[in-house]
């Protein structure tokens, strides 16, 4: 596989190291001169000096081949959006993943068609919420491109679902219960699975149905 990694910060450098170890061909593009020299001393000719938002630099990195994947992981969200747009729209790179530095910019990535994104801050917050579920419902995974999300809820003692079979719940059409964890043991949810207070339920649903799912399971 051939990968272009744009941005040689911690994320870009570590991903490059891992991809090289796995035997893949990589070009890492880094703009800052001192950082470039550091990386070149370590990684050799796979590192290219330049601004990856300039098309001629991307061309020198081999964007026209095109690569199998482009990772836009600079520390600047606008740069990452531009790199991703040039790669997907200009060179039809089959897979482009962009890093979201500031979670407030996530909407811009979505709006401008950069659908495969990774945001460390949101991921971390998700994990925190997973440990401290305050709102009764935690988003575990967002499949933006597919228009689906995976969430987790805890069944409350006074929940309308407590004691009912999954088949007997009044859930919206685009919601499916996936698994139920009770006393640390998980099982795949079937139609006959009975919901108990305290159960951790994982569900897959279309975005926008969270409140109806919460009402059905938490109350």
């Amino acid at each position: 596989m051939y990968a272009i990694v744009a941005g040689g910060g911690k994320v870009g450098a570590n991903v490059t190291r891992s991809l090289l170890t796995m035997g893949h061909e990589v070009t890492l593009v880094e703009q800052r001169r001192d950082r470039f020299e550091q990386l070149e001393a370590e990684l050799g000719p796979v590192v290219l000096a330049g601004d990856a938002t300039e098309i001629h630099i991307l061309e020198r990195a081999g964007i026209a081949r095109p690569p199998d994947i482009v990772l836009a992981v600079t520390g600047d969200d606008e740069d990452n959006i531009v790199i991703a747009q040039i790669a997907q729209d200009g060179y039809h790179v089959p897979k482009v993943i962009a890093r979201v530095n500031d979670p407030r910019n996530q909407g811009h990535f979505d709006l401008l068609g950069v659908t495969r994104t990774l945001c460390a801050t949101s991921g971390l917050l998700g994990l925190v919420e997973h440990e401290v579920p305050e709102h009764g419902l935690v988003k575990l995974l967002e499949l933006r491109r597919e228009g689906l999300e995976v969430v987790e809820l805890q069944v409350a003692p006074e929940s309308p679902a407590a004691g009912k079979r999954v088949a007997g719940l009044s859930l919206p059409d685009d919601v499916r219960l996936v698994s139920i964890t009770r006393n640390g043991v998980a099982e795949v949810a079937g139609l006959d699975t009975v919901i108990r207070p305290g159960d951790q339920v994982i569900a897959i649903l279309k975005p926008g149905l969270e409140d109806r799912l919460r009402k059905a399971l938490v109350g």
Binding site: E54, D77, E78, I81, V82, I86
Partner: protein, 137 residues
């Protein structure tokens, strides 16, 4: 007619003053409050903030703007903010400054109205040389 100018540097402030003189209601956005000084005696609006922040754009009146000019000192910020404004608020006119000719052409091909001062300088300078050559001949 209402205009929002994102980036109140030399270019943005110049456009703002020109439009205001021609009777437009103009609001400028800049991260640096000091940029207000570039506008001289300014009767228009001024919002301190970043163009990537939708709240800032809304406070500047983007929802009812007829025109938006995006001219910060960052090409990538300009093309991103320009596209976001175009898609979310679709004012009649969105124009974006892009210094890099190839990026300007790339986004122009995809429906963004870009202005590339570098390309203009190249064309003008070349024309001047051509006309000197003609007069020498």
């Amino acid at each position: 007619m209402n205009a929002v100018i994102v980036g109140c540097g030399r270019v943005g402030s110049g456009v703002a003053k020109q439009l205001a003189e021609e009777g437009w209601d103009v609001t400028c956005i800049d991260e640096d409050e000091g940029a207000l000084a570039r506008l001289g005696e300014w009767r228009g609006g001024f919002v301190v903030g970043h163009g990537m922040d939708l709240d800032v754009l809304v406070r500047a009146g983007i929802a009812s703007a007829d025109a938006a000019v995006v001219a910060t000192n960052g090409d990538n910020t300009n093309v991103v903010v320009g596209q976001v404004i175009q898609r979310l608020y679709s004012p009649a006119c969105v124009v974006v400054r892009v210094l890099d000719p190839r990026r300007a052409a790339f986004y122009a091909e995809r429906g963004l109205r870009t202005v590339c001062p570098t390309q203009t300088a190249i064309a003008t300078l070349t024309d001047v040389v051509r006309s000197c050559e003609a007069s020498v001949l």
